[in-house]
């Protein structure tokens, strides 16, 4: 269905394997040589980012890059293909990995955390799996990397190894593996068994829309199974793993739950909607509006819950669930601008949310405070941190000149393309709710109170925590100004 030129190149595989090489280096350096170990992570992250960025010109010129790894079944290969949305996701993930590593170094050393070698190794593995998801060319490949991510993030989630980590790990893995083994795998194998004599590849370019051969009822059931089966996308009610996973250290929360893990989930959902079902099949499906309703419900409900959370990380977690709902909504809208807006939102939200998580972690490292009610006036002593928080919050809310505005704009346009006015209303209401639960944190931080003048525990966070969050806050601005490049990548010409 696509007439893009195909370039065979090993660079996608290099991007996938760089973290593995880094992991070997990390384990070899070990606890005895922490600086060398951190250096290996930086090298791996830089190599990965460099490789991914070097692919941008090729993609902007309209071609796709492919690399064939392994023949899984005789008719289904494990194929890596780099196209616009995948490359955008990969760029975001790999660049933010560098920022997060810098942040993690400061955070983990600041708190004298244990088992840092294990932490960095599984971090690298998770990024490798993320690259795999971004570059997958067919449904089975994306499933393999999705499962790899679930398993490789488990040691990160249970890093603290105590009772809360056990509960959090159980919730995390319980939700993820239950949905992927019991909902996703049957849906997946249904497509592979019944289409085209059982010899279909379910390739994202060639086999778009083949699911249209099923009956209407089967199609809607499959769509729902895929939506809930990719539980990393956080659609309610398969969302509870996300607040539960907040027991992890903040770098884990930041990257994985604001960028890698949840974005993998929602990217997979986008791929299913856009490249397995395709816009035509979705438009002709009668019950398809229900997926939009489910996504909208997720957005509204999670925003309302976020309002009531006092723990900052939990508030941000519910905010993430809502923002993920935007992306699923955009995918479900099934128009070009809607789906393009969804992919853009992956990038914009990643930048904004990771800034917010970095700030939350920096506050914890500097002052030990976790609750929003305790943060009054902290901005006086941590101006950089709270300034960045403000920028991240504005990006998530969606105000120009920050990146979040572009993606929400295109989502609204995409909804109007389909004459779904109610979606625009949902977007407006949820943006309003975002204001209510994010801005007060930032604003009251700058109020002067009598306690903050004398509280000795308020001080700025270590520089290796502050620098990354300033970088990502700057990134939110940059994404606005580079939005035309991004729009071109997702196939929406500005």
């Amino acid at each position: 269905m696509s007439t893009a030129a195909v370039v065979e190149d090993i660079r996608p595989l290099i991007a996938l394997l760089a973290p593995w090489a880094g992991m070997i280096g990390i384990i070899w350096a070990g606890e005895k040589r922490p600086n060398l170990r951190e250096l290996f992570t930086f090298i791996a992250a830089s190599v990965q980012a460099a490789v991914v960025l070097s692919l941008v010109p090729i993609i902007l010129s309209g071609a796709v890059v492919e690399f064939h790894i392994w023949q899984i079944f005789s008719y289904v290969p494990m194929l890596l293909r780099v196209d616009g949305p995948g490359l955008l996701f990969a760029c975001v993930a790999s660049l933010l990995w560098i920022a997060t590593t810098l942040y993690a170094v400061g955070y983990m050393r600041g708190l004298h955390e244990h088992a840092q070698t294990r932490f960095y190794s599984f971090f690298a593995l998770s990024l490798s799996a993320t690259m795999g998801v971004a570059f997958s060319a067919n449904l089975l490949t994306i499933y393999f990397f999705y499962e790899m991510l679930s398993v490789s993030t488990f040691p990160l989630v249970t890093h603290m190894q105590d009772k809360e980590a056990r509960t959090g790990g159980r919730t995390y893995l319980g939700y993820l593996l239950f949905t992927s083994l019991c909902l996703l795998l049957p849906a997946l194998s249904w497509c592979y068994v019944w289409l085209d004599g059982g010899h279909l590849t379910m390739d994202f370019i060639e086999d778009v829309g083949k699911v249209g051969h099923f009956s209407e009822a089967t199609q809607i059931v499959l769509l729902l199974l895929f939506t809930f089966g990719f539980a990393k996308a956080g659609i309610m009610p398969a969302h509870s793993w996300l607040p539960g996973a907040m027991v992890a250290p903040t770098p884990v929360s930041a990257l994985l739950h604001a960028v890698a893990v949840v974005k993998v989930g929602v990217f997979c959902v986008y791929r299913v909607y856009a490249d397995v079902f395709g816009a035509e099949v979705l438009a002709n499906m009668s019950g398809e509006e229900w997926t939009m309703v489910i996504a909208s419900a997720t957005i509204i409900i999670s925003s309302l819950v976020a309002l009531s959370q006092d723990n900052l990380k939990r508030r941000l977690a519910f905010s993430t669930i809502g923002q993920l709902g935007y992306i699923v909504l955009g995918a479900a809208i099934a128009t070009d601008r809607g789906q393009g807006g969804a992919v853009l939102h992956i990038a914009m939200h990643a930048c904004g949310k990771i800034t917010l998580f970095f700030c939350a972690g920096a506050i914890f490292v500097a002052t030990g405070k976790k609750y929003v009610s305790e943060l009054r006036g902290i901005g006086r002593k941590m101006p950089l941190t709270m300034g960045a928080f403000m920028i991240g919050a504005l990006s998530v809310i969606g105000l120009p000149p920050l990146g979040g505005f572009i993606s929400k704009w295109y989502l609204a346009l995409g909804a109007l393309d389909r004459d779904a006015m109610w979606v625009v209303i949902v977007l407006l209401i949820s943006s309003l709710l975002n204001v209510f639960y994010l801005l007060p944190v930032a604003v009251t931080a700058f109020f002067r109170t009598s306690e903050t003048e004398n509280d000795p525990s308020f001080k700025e966070a270590p520089w290796s925590c502050v620098v990354p969050l300033l970088l990502t806050a700057g990134g939110c601005f940059l994404l606005f100004f580079w939005s035309d490049v991004l729009l071109q990548m997702v196939g929406l010409n500005p």
Binding site: H114, F144, D162, G169, R170, L177, L181, P186, V193
Partner: protein, 519 residues
Amino acid sequence: MSDHIVWIVLFPLMGAVACALSGALSKKLCYPISVISMIASVWASVHTMMQAIESPVHEISYILGGWSLDLFPRGVGIEFRADLLGALITLVVTGVGLIVTLYSKVPVQRETPGKEPMYYGLFLLQICGLAGIALTGDAFNLYVLIEVAALTGYGLIALGSNRAAAATFNYVILGTIGASLYLLGVGYLYLKTGTLNMVGIREVIEAQSLYDSPAMQVAFVLVLVGILIKMAFFPFHAWLPNAYCHAPSTTSCLLAPLVTKVMIYVMIRMVLSVFGVEFSFESTLWTEVMPWLVVVAIVCAAVMALAQREIKRMLAYLIVAEVGYMVGGVWIYNYYGLIGSIFHVISDACMTLCLFLGAGIILEKCRTTHFDGLRGLFAKMPLTMIGFFIGGFSIIGLPPTCGFFSKWYLITGGMVSERWEYMVTLMFSTMVMVVLFFRLIERIHLAVDESGKNLGKGHGDLGLTEEQTRFDEAPLTMLVPLLIAASIVMIIGVYNQEVVDQIEVFLRAYNLPTGVSYK
């Protein structure tokens, strides 16, 4: 030269005699003799596999005693037939046997000191029996070899502690009932068809259209019930947990992956090659009833596995559940189900081997396999744990291990035949296995005890002494076989298409429904 097929069985036989005799000279000779004879046997089975793939009819046939098919009708001499299925199973048997032989040096010395000649003698005879079961083409010879394998198995288990001997008694009784029922079934088969050769029996059934004959129906039931008892299909599984749990660790490493799987091979052989597809699937009611029995079997076994607090017992119940998978794969009556079943035989042998090798190493180093004694093993024995959990992830069915692919084919088979009960049970038991293995990971990795109380001083401290968390890996003769087994699990997963190609060539000779497909 097509008699490599006999050498597969002869090398272990000669090795067994040599071991038993060498006991008079020195007990230390037994290990090298066993390793050499197993390497020779593996070489012969690889050769046979190659020959079977290249032969135009995809099978190798060898009549023992020289009763060649030119002069005498089929069935006068005992035939060894290695078609693709038999060759694959033989390769698995001898391969697993080699790995366990390599592994056995340290545990045998520790658990059955002074009894090495007897132990290795029985060990090699067991391999001889199992390989023979996979190769024979004669129904009565199959009974003899089943009993050879069974008797040596009883001996291997009873060579352990007294508790093992007590567990063996139950196994002896049940195993003998099973094998005798099979023998009875063969009697009826002989009665009706006049021949004992497997191919010959099927030819007579087809020629004389014996599909509704009561004698044949009785023979079918007797043969299959006998095999079901021997493969520990629920509710005939009662002998398995005790026997495998209390046996010496090398014995359980050899028996657990192989015995039940070879019996499933026997069932597939009986159903496809002896009775034929038309008889087994269409003239009996088994295709309607068995999937429901399978559902009960898998659910009960999975739930009982959840209740265990000790690794080897948990693994024993997992074997019973896996047997349920394979039996279900056969009786849902379609092409993909049988591919899944046969592939699962191969992959389950490898992953069970991984798990039991790991459990044996844990027993060796920690003196216990109870969940309470496992904390901190990731630091103490990281390589062993990697090997063990590769087996564990394969049982759960995470790609790219071989367990994922066998589950894939079984699910496909369930869908094509619209056996939703089987599919739902597969999903349920997969979730139970996730719980089982991740609970184990929690016990090893987290500083929390069973009741949820924090141990240690926080920040990853597991509350253990320095000595308990020091790196102290297993001896190399135990570790290397485990890592080889783990890599085989991954390799079979990655190269599953090559294996499945051979299985498909085998299955194409039989008319199995492949299901409807949309364009």
